[in-house]
């Protein structure tokens, strides 16, 4: 049976009708047409569908949409500012070679955001742990870790 779910999506209040068996990913992609969040496995193993729920990174493909009632959801689209201004993490991925095919990128960036929000100065080991749930087949992670480290360095420099 369909139920109306109300939550905050990328800073705006939304209400969607959803079935109890539906996962957040499906609602984001098919109902709300936010296709930046990717389907990679549907089993919570690859991280391509990572979004933030109340600031924590979750696999939206196995996150029941009914659980989202009243919470704050941030997707990759929500990181882009006015006039297409990329978020520092998005910019860093572009500038430091953190992107190849790009399919893991949105989820990877969302995990990186959750990490930096919690720990603004992670070391390389902490960065690798922070994206341990996000698989990438193109980059070997080297330039992804660099992309995240550069943002962390810049934030330190700005403090």
């Amino acid at each position: 049976m369909k139920k109306t779910i109300r939550f905050t999506l990328n800073g705006q209040a939304v209400a969607v009708k959803a079935e109890s068996h539906q996962m957040l990913l499906e609602v984001l992609r098919d109902t709300l047409h936010l296709t930046g969040t990717k389907y990679g496995c549907g089993e919570g193993e690859c991280g391509a569908c990572t979004v933030l729920v109340d600031g924590a990174s979750v696999d939206s493909c196995i996150y029941p949409v009914f659980e989202i009632e009243g919470r704050k959801v941030t997707t990759i689209e929500g990181l882009v500012g006015e006039r297409n201004q990329l978020h520092p993490l998005q910019k860093s991925f572009v500038e430091n070679g953190g992107i190849q095919c790009g399919f893991c990128t949105p989820g990877m960036i969302m995990s990186a955001k959750a990490l930096l929000d919690q720990n603004p100065h992670p070391g390389p080991e902490e960065i690798r742990q922070g994206i341990s749930g996000n698989l990438c087949r193109c980059t070997g992670y080297v330039q992804i870790v660099e992309s995240i480290a550069r943002v962390a360095e810049k934030e330190s420099a700005n403090e």
Partner: protein
């Protein structure tokens, strides 16, 4: 050539921002009006006769628009030797065989309908290894070949044999000979974005298909053949390739699911989308072939290789893809890596009831390198020579022709060996870490670097179009799949034409717009397309300079006049001294046309866009569009002798690792990884290194953990929990990559192809390091803790037995 402005420098990928923002559109993200969702019913047996298919319950399900089988659709033959069918009739030969399909209004209904299809089978005895399949009494997988002639055995009729010199004589004369067997498993490409397509027809019955492919033009050809089979001869196909979430060879053939989407779209008159879920991606796409290699190599007393004898058996699975031609690439290292005068190579490809295989990044080369490079270390040890020195003694050199007829032009092999040895501190570490179970090892690679003529044409076309605003769009038949094609072509176009990279837009992946290209494979994308871009840019520059001869001075005068009006006291220079320049007097750089002999005079230059508008907006005006078709100067292999210069250039590379082995658990830990690749010329350091890092990590997966496991043809690990690819915490060691520039004359700006090589020698480098660390040689991939532990135990038992025997012996005495 004047100093390069963009080539060799870091430039962010033009496709980066959209991908970072989640705006790039992959097949999963595309929706067409009225679109239906297709779903395939796969076989429940590895080998069985189809007795009856009941689709009636599925047809009655509300929301279902079509249910198709081989019995209500035209027969469409597919595959490299047309031994496969879009939908299977009479019998199934593998678990993934497509027996029926549905189109429905939503994915859930389609899935429900597929479950309602009932298929009655009669199971047949199956064969699940080449050994079983080659037995005289083995059941036949194909009773007839694709021409309808009865088959007597399970051999795939694609034999590969190569002979040079006299191997038997060389064996007799060699000082040292070593032989062994090496196995590789099935591995899956594991693209993050799964496969899929949307097929639709217009009212003229022309096909439009959005699909994830690396070969849009060969796919167009395949789909046109399907239209003919469907009674639509003469109708056309347009292939559009959306953003690709990784491909790694999985897009080198057309697949049954694409033809099924076409059949469903034609049946329903609606666009039909089929996208694989992860389970289907693992079970219904084609992995890299499993191989068994018997190798014998020998050398003389000075450590010079005398011969190489390689006999390989490939498990083809039930049908034949282009993967059956991977031996043509395996043959390259087998015949030509290191200088070896006598070579014998034979490959037998065998049908089984396993999943059918396909090419994957490296196209057979990783399997060949696994055997050759493991065996090189065995031979070096027996000859009493350090494996690095042994490789140096035998390394190829520039300007030599190998026994296969490969013309090696540039060759940075020795530099690569030295780089890796230096980086690993080889002399200090090799053979000295046994007490701490630490070791170093290395392995080399040889691959095509100047495209590869595996098809009649190895060409690629580009169209270069300049607009009124000085912007350039270049359409190319190549494909961006993450490797950095767009970035390379942008830089090459900017460099060759004389405009800034932000003026360049690369357009790919549309057979209606882009000129023909054989496919993005063989590490050929940047090599061929950038060469084509240089040719098209030369033509465009010639046209621009002809326009300049006509309009340049008029524009300069007009600009000077305008400036005099605006700026009081401005004195225009006397232009009489310039005279009437001709086309050959001009140059174009950084979006400005100027006189070659006055490059620094700011008053004597005209912005490109201004010149283009001047030439366009007048009576009998003109615009600039040029094209070029580049086909490298290489040749197809002679089908009888397998000789021929298959590539316009060749690449070399060496990789090495320092590892530590946990003798309690058998776990191998990489402490450091070093790679050196002869790349010709670095086009973009960032994207190039990114590609090599990524390939190394794929290669480490092949070395340490990846294996597509099956029991009697049925896949057992169709998910990322059970099929382990490396994750970020696994890559916690430094990876050093050095690019050796050899500046190849055939390459664009000197560059050679480098997309695949990064994973070719990775696994044997690890195995050789493991041997150095603990003295056990693992001969079948992946090098799992279980295998290492078993080998350590076996070694321990052997040593104990020998000690016991020695003790017993002394007692007797």
């Amino acid at each position: 050539m004047s100093e390069l402005q963009f080539i060799g420098k870091n430039h962010s990928r033009p496709d980066g921002p959209d991908k970072a923002a989640g705006k790039a559109l992959y097949i999963h993200d595309l929706v067409r009006p009225g679109m239906l969702y297709g779903k395939i019913k796969f076989s429940e047996y590895a080998h069985a006769a189809i007795k009856h298919i009941d689709t009636s319950r599925a047809e009655k399900l509300p929301g279902v628009r079509a249910v198709i089988t081989a019995y209500n659709t035209p027969e469409i033959r597919i595959g490299f030797i047309k031994d496969n069918f879009a939908l299977k009739k009479d019998k199934v030969r593998q678990f993934r065989d497509e027996v029926a399909a549905v189109a429905a209004v939503d994915p859930e209904t389609a899935a429900e309908a597929v479950d309602l299809i009932e298929v009655e089978y009669e199971e047949l005895p199956g064969v699940f290894s080449p050994d079983e399949a080659l037995r005289a009494d083995a059941p036949l997988i194909h009773e007839f070949d694709s021409r309808g002639r009865p088959k007597k055995d399970n051999l795939v009729p694609v034999p590969w044999n190569f002979t040079a010199g006299d191997v038997e004589k060389a064996k007799q004369l060699s000082a040292v000979v070593v032989e062994d067997d090496f196995d590789t498993p099935l591995v899956q490409q594991s693209c993050m974005g799964t496969a899929g397509c949307i097929a639709e027809f217009d009212l003229m019955n022309n096909l439009l298909i959005h699909t994830k492919t690396q070969i849009p033009f060969l796919a167009q050809n395949d789909f046109n053949a399907a239209l003919t089979a469907m009674g639509l001869k003469g109708r056309s196909t347009r292939v559009i390739v959306p953003a690709i979430g990784g491909s790694f060879g999985s897009g080198l053939d057309t697949h049954a699911y694409e033809y099924i989407a076409i059949l469903l779209a034609y049946t329903t008159g609606k666009p039909v989308k089929i996208v694989f879920n992860r389970h289907e991606e693992f079970t219904a796409l084609s992995p890299r072939q499993a191989t068994r290699t018997h190798i014998i190599q020998g050398c003389d007393a000075n450590g010079r290789l005398t011969f190489r004898d390689v006999r390989m058996v490939l498990d083809n699975g039930a049908y034949t893809s282009w993967g059956a031609t991977t031996p043509s690439v395996m043959m390259l290292p087998i015949s030509s890596i290191y200088r070896v005068p006598n070579v014998f190579y034979q490959t037998t490809i065998v049908y089984t009831n396993n999943t059918y295989c396909q090419a994957m990044r490296g196209y057979g080369n990783p399997q060949a390198a696994w055997a050759i490079e493991s065996n090189m270390d065995q031979l070096a040890e027996k000859a009493g020579i350090d494996p690095y020195e042994f490789r140096m003694i035998n390394a190829n050199v520039p300007n030599e022709t190998t026994p296969m007829g490969l013309n090696i032009t540039t060759c940075g092999f020795s530099d690569c060996l030295q780089s890796v040895a230096r980086e690993l501190d080889w002399r200090e570490k090799r053979g000295k870490g046994r007490s701490r179970a630490r070791g170093v090892g290395m392995a080399s690679l040889f691959h095509v670097g100047g495209a590869a003529r595996v098809y009649r044409s190895d060409g690629t076309g580009v169209i270069m179009k300049l607009d009124d605003f000085g912007n350039v769009s270049i359409s190319s038949g190549g494909i961006e799949m993450g490797q950095g094609f767009t970035a390379a072509l942008t830089a090459a176009t900017a460099e060759a034409l004389g405009v800034s990279p932000d003026r360049v837009t690369v357009i790919t992946g549309d057979t209606a717009i882009c000129p023909w290209d054989v496919g993005t494979h063989a590490s050929r994308g940047a090599f061929t397309a950038c060469n084509a871009a240089i040719l098209a840019a030369d033509k465009a520059r010639q046209k621009i300079f002809e326009l300049a001869a006509e309009h340049f001075m008029a524009r300069v005068s007009a600009n000077l006049e305008r400036r005099m009006k605006k700026q009081q006291g401005f004195q225009a220079p006397n232009l009489d001294a310039v005279g009437n320049p001709t086309a050959s007097d001009f140059d174009l750089r950084q979006n400005f046309v100027f006189l070659k002999d006055r490059p620094d005079d700011p008053l004597l230059r005209v912005p490109l866009d201004e010149l283009l508008r001047e030439a366009h907006y007048r009576q009998q005006g003109t615009i600039i569009v040029t094209e070029a078709f580049y086909d490298p100067c290489h040749e197809m292999l002679d089908p009888k002798t397998c000789r021929g210069n298959i590539s316009a250039a060749y690449v070399f590379g060496v990789q090495g690792a320092e590892v530590e082995v946990d003798e309690e658990t058998g776990k191998v830990t990489v402490l450091k990884f070093a790679a050196a690749h002869d790349v010709g010329k670095v086009l973009n350091p960032q994207t190039l290194k990114g590609q090599i890092y990524g390939a190394i990590v794929q290669g480490l997966g092949y070395a340490l953990c990846e294996e597509y496991k099956a029991h009697r043809g049925k896949n057992l690990n169709p998910n990322f929990l059970d099929y382990k690819i490396l994750s970020a915490p696994d890559v916690d060691f430094p990876i050093h990559v050095e690019c050796i520039e050899t500046d190849d004359r055939q390459g664009p700006f000197g560059a050679k192809g480098v997309g695949e090589p990064g994973l070719v020698p990775t696994a044997p480098a690890i195995a050789n390091a493991v041997y150095d660390a603990v003295g056990v040689r693992i001969k079948s991939l992946p090098i799992t803790p279980e295998k290492v532990l078993a080998a350590l135990r076996e070694r321990k038992n052997k040593i104990a037995k020998e000690a016991e025997a020695a003790k017993g012996g002394s007692n007797v005495r």
